[in-house]
Symmetry: C2
Subunit: 496 residues, 2 copies
C-alpha cells in the first residue's frame, strides 16, 4: 500500500499545480490586462515544466510498477485511480522532454501566426508553421502508439477519451455520414414549409441579460458560493470543484447567444461541481474525458434547453426579464428559433443537426493527416470537397474554411470526434433519465431542474473516472455508444 499512498501524495501536488494553472488561465481570459500577457506566459510555462518534471520522474514509474504488483490490496476506486495515474504517466514520460517542449513552443508560435493568417485569409502564411506542428505530432503519436500498442491516432484519442478506439468511431461516423446529408435536406425542406419564424427584435441591455443568466443558472442548480459567471471573448467553463467558473459573451441584439452559451457551460459546470468529493485531489476524481464532458454540456444545451418543455418554462422568464412583448415571445416561436436548421460554413455557429457534419469532415481529415495520407498543403481542397459532400455548400474562403478552428494549431489532434460522441451520449443519457421518472420532464417545464440534476449526479457526475466512458454510459443507460438513439432524437425533434 505504501507505494500507492506515495503516489496519491504526488498526485495531490500535481493537482495543486493544475488547479493553479486553471485559475491563471481563467484570469488570463477574464481579468488580465494586456500588459500581463508576457509574464503570464512565463508563469504557465514554468508551472507546466515543474508539473512535467514531477510526473515523469523515474521514481514515479517505479512507484506505479510497485503499486500495480500489489494491486490486490486496493479497493475499486484506488484501482481505477492507479490505472489513471499509470496512463497519465505513460502519456507524459513516453515523450522525450525535448520533443514535448518543442511541440509546446511550436504550438504557441503556430497559434500566433494562425490568428494573423486567419484574419488575412492567407493559408500560405499558416502552412509552414502548421507543417512543423504536424511533423511533431506525428512523431509523438507514433512514440505513444508503440507504448500503448495501438495506432497513432488511437494514441492521440486516448488523451481526450481514455480507451476510445477509432474503429468504433469509424463505424458510428460512417453511419452518420450515410444518414446526415439526406436528413439535413429533409429538415430544411420541412422547415421551409412551416409558418415563418418571427424574429426577436429589440435591444437587450447587457445588465438585463446578466440578470437572466443568473436566474437561469440558479434554476439549473449552479451554486454561486462555489462558482462565478463572468464575461470573456469565447464562452468557457474553467476552475475546479468548489470554484467552477463559467463565462459567456453578450450581444445586445441577440440575447439567445449569451443564454445558450450559459446553458452549455452550465452543463460542464454542474459536472465539475458534482465530482466525487472524496477523490477531488486524485486523477480518479476528475471528469471522465471530453466525450462525457461534452455530453453534459450538450444534454443541457441541446436536449433540455431546446425542448418544447423547456420553452414552456423559459418563455415567461425571458419575457419578464427582458421586457419582451408580442407574437415573437411565444413558446412555439422560441422553439422554432432554437431548432432552425440550415447548412453554414462555421462550426461554432452551426445548429444541432448540421453540427455533426462539421465534425465528420474534421475527423476524416485529421486521421488522414496523422497517418500521412494527407498533407497540410491538401487542406483547402479537402475542406472544399468535404463541405460539398456533407453539407452541400462550398467555403467562400480558407478563413471560413480550413482555418476557422484553433484545435490543430497547438497539436490537438483527436479532440474533434469527442464533440459528436458527446452529442450521442447526451441523447442516450437524457432518454434514460426521462424514462427513469416523469418528474424529470415535468421539472423542466416547471423550472425545477433538481430531479434531472439528481439523476445526472448519481449516474454520471459522482463516478469521476472510476469507469471508462463506455462503461459509464452502459451502467447509466444499459447500452454503450448507440448512434441510433441519437438519430431517433433528431428524427423526432426535426421531422416528428
Amino acid at each position: 500500500m505504501e507505494s500507492y499512498k506515495t503516489l496519491e501524495k504526488v498526485c495531490r501536488k500535481l493537482n495543486d499545480i493544475n488547479q493553479a494553472k486553471a485559475a491563471l488561465h481563467w484570469d488570463m481570459s477574464v481579468t488580465m490586462p494586456a500588459g500581463g500577457a508576457e509574464a503570464r506566459g512565463h508563469q504557465l510555462a514554468t508551472l507546466t515544466s515543474i508539473h512535467h518534471a514531477i510526473l515523469s520522474d523515474d521514481g514515479v514509474g517505479e512507484l506505479i510498477a510497485k503499486a500495480k504488483s500489489e494491486e490486490n490490496k486496493l479497493d475499486d476506486w484506488q484501482k481505477a485511480n492507479l490505472y489513471e495515474i499509470g496512463k497519465t504517466y505513460n502519456h507524459t514520460a513516453s515523450v522525450p522532454r525535448k520533443l514535448a517542449h518543442e511541440l509546446t513552443k511550436e504550438g504557441i508560435a503556430c497559434e500566433m501566426v494562425w490568428r494573423e493568417a486567419r484574419a488575412a485569409n492567407d493559408f500560405n502564411m499558416l502552412k509552414p508553421r502548421l507543417e512543423k506542428v504536424v511533423k511533431l505530432v506525428r512523431e509523438i503519436a507514433s512514440i505513444k502508439a508503440e507504448v500503448f500498442g495501438c495506432s497513432p491516432y488511437d494514441a492521440m484519442l486516448d488523451q481526450y477519451d481514455r480507451g476510445r478506439k477509432s474503429a468504433q468511431i469509424d463505424e458510428v461516423f460512417d453511419n452518420l455520414q450515410a444518414f446526415l446529408p439526406d436528413f439535413i435536406k429533409a429538415v430544411v425542406e420541412k422547415q421551409s414549409s412551416q409558418p415563418k419564424i418571427t424574429e426577436l427584435k429589440g435591444l437587450f441591455p447587457v445588465e438585463k441579460q446578466k440578470r437572466l443568466a443568473h436566474k437561469m443558472l440558479e434554476t439549473i442548480g449552479f451554486d454561486f458560493t462555489r462558482g462565478r459567471l463572468d464575461e470573456s471573448h469565447h464562452p468557457f467553463c474553467g476552475g475546479y470543484p468548489g470554484d467552477v467558473r463559467i463565462t459567456t459573451r453578450y450581444d445586445e441584439n441577440n440575447f439567445l447567444s449569451a443564454i445558450m452559451g450559459v446553458q452549455h457551460e452550465a452543463g460542464h459546470a454542474m459536472y465539475e461541481a458534482n465530482l466525487p468529493q472524496r477523490w477531488l485531489s486524485q486523477p480518479v476524481g476528475e471528469a471522465r474525458g471530453m466525450s462525457i464532458h461534452e455530453s453534459q454540456s450538450l444534454l443541457l444545451e441541446m436536449q433540455v434547453c431546446r425542448s418544447k418543455e423547456f420553452m414552456e418554462f423559459a418563455t415567461p422568464l425571458y419575457r419578464d426579464t427582458l421586457g419582451g412583448k408580442g407574437k415573437a415571445w411565444t413558446p412555439e416561436n422560441l422553439y422554432a428559433i432554437c431548432t432552425k436548421v440550415g447548412p453554414s460554413l462555421i462550426r461554432v455557429d452551426a445548429d444541432e443537426v448540421t453540427y455533426p457534419a462539421h465534425i465528420l469532415l474534421r475527423y476524416y481529415i485529421e486521421k488522414y493527416i496523422l497517418s500521412g495520407d494527407m498533407e497540410v498543403a491538401d487542406l483547402p481542397d479537402a475542406w472544399a470537397q468535404g463541405m460539398e459532400k456533407f453539407l452541400g455548400i462550398k467555403p467562400d474562403s480558407d478563413k471560413n474554411g480550413c482555418m476557422q478552428d484553433i484545435h490543430w494549431m497547438d497539436g490537438s489532434f483527436g479532440y474533434f470526434p469527442t464533440y459528436t460522441l458527446g452529442a450521442i451520449y447526451a441523447a442516450q443519457l437524457f432518454k434514460a433519465a426521462r424514462e427513469s421518472s416523469p418528474a424529470i420532464v415535468e421539472g423542466i417545464s416547471g423550472g425545477d431542474f433538481a430531479p434531472l440534476m439528481g439523476w445526472l449526479k448519481t449516474n454520471v457526475h459522482e463516478h469521476g473516472c472510476r469507469y471508462s466512458s463506455e462503461e459509464l454510459v452502459q451502467k447509466a443507460t444499459g447500452k454503450g455508444l448507440d448512434v441510433e438513439i441519437y438519430k431517433e432524437h433528431l428524427k423526432a425533434r426535426y421531422l416528428g
Copy 2:
C-alpha cells in the same frame, strides 16, 4: 560567469512561481467564491514548498559561493543581484524545512483563531496559539541571527528592509517618542480653536466613486493597460510589473475613504510599474523592501494628496464627479478634513500625526517579545500602558487594543517599523523632489503629476534593489534617514 548565469535562470523560475502566487492571492481577495478557499490554500502551500525546495537546494548554495568567488567579472547590477540572491538564499536555507513548515501551519491556524477571538474580544482564546507562533519565531530569529551575525530582531528586520539595524530605529523612534505626545496635544489644541469643519454630507453612489477613482489614477499616471482597479475588503496593491492591481473599498457615506485608499495604493503601484525593465525577473529588479515601498505610498497619500496644492486641483474634480455643492466643497474645508488630528484606538484609522505613535508602541512591544523580555500574556497590559503613554487614551477592549492587527499572527515580527521609516523617507523624498524643480508642486495643483512621477522614477523606482534603502535615499536626497525633516514637515503642516 557561468555560475552567475545559472543563478539568473533559477531566479527566473522562482520569479514565475512568486508571480503565480501573487496572481492567486489577488484572485483570493477579489474574485474567488468562498467554495474555493480550501483548494486555494493547498495550491499556495504547494507553490510555496516548491519555491522553497528550488531556492534552498544545496546546489544553489554552491552556485552562489562560486559566483561570489568570480564577482570581479560582474557589473554593478549583477553584483547587487548576486547579493540579493545570497541574502534570500540564507534567509530560506538557514531555517530547517520542518521549522519553516511548522511556522506556516501555526501561522495559518493562529490567524484563523485570531479572526474569531477578535470578533469575540477574547484574548484568552488567542493566547495559546499566538504563544506557539512566538515560540517558533524566536527559534527562527535566533538561527538567522547566528547566520547573519546580528541580533535576532535585526535578522527579522532584514526580511523586510535589507540591512536595517534596530540601533538606528531606536535612535529615531526615541526621538519621536520624545516629540510626539506634546506635539499631538499642541495640534489638537490648535485645531480646536480653528473654524469648525463642515462635514461632507451626502450619499455618494459607488459608480460615481469608481469614476472618480479612475480619473484620479489616470491623473497620477496609472496605466490601465498594465493594471486594474478593483474592490476588496482591505485595500491593497498586488500583481507585478506589467500587471499591477490596486484595490479599494467603497463607503457610500464617505467617498474620501475610497479615494485615499486609491491614492495610497497608487503610490505602491507606480513604484512596481516603474521597476527596472531589464531586471524584472531577477531579485535586483524587485522593489527595495517595505520601508521604501511605504515611502512611495505615503509620499502620494500623505505628502501630496493631503497638501493644500493638491486640494486646489482635487476640489473641482471631487465636486464635478460627485455633484458636491455648498461651503463644504472648498479646498480649505477639504484640507481641514484631510488633516484633522485626534488620538484614536485603531492604527489603520489613525491620522498622519498620531499614526507613528501606534507604530512606536508596536515596535517596542515586538522587540521585547522577540527578546523574551515580554510574554504574550503581558500584551493587554503593555498595550494599555503604551496607549496611555503615547496617545493619552486607554483601549476599551483587547479587540480594539492588542488584537487589532494581523501582523504578528503569522509571525511577521519586524514589519511594523517600516511604516514609520516609510513616512520619514516620504517626507525626505518629497522635499528633495520639490526642491529639484518648481514644476513638481505646480504640476500637483494643476493636475499634472508627470514631473513628480518622472523624478520618482529616476531617483527611486528604476533602481530596483541596486542600492540599500539608506543608499537610495542618500543618493536621491543627499541624506540618509533623517527624522528632523519629517518633524519639520509635521510642524509646518500642523502648527505652521
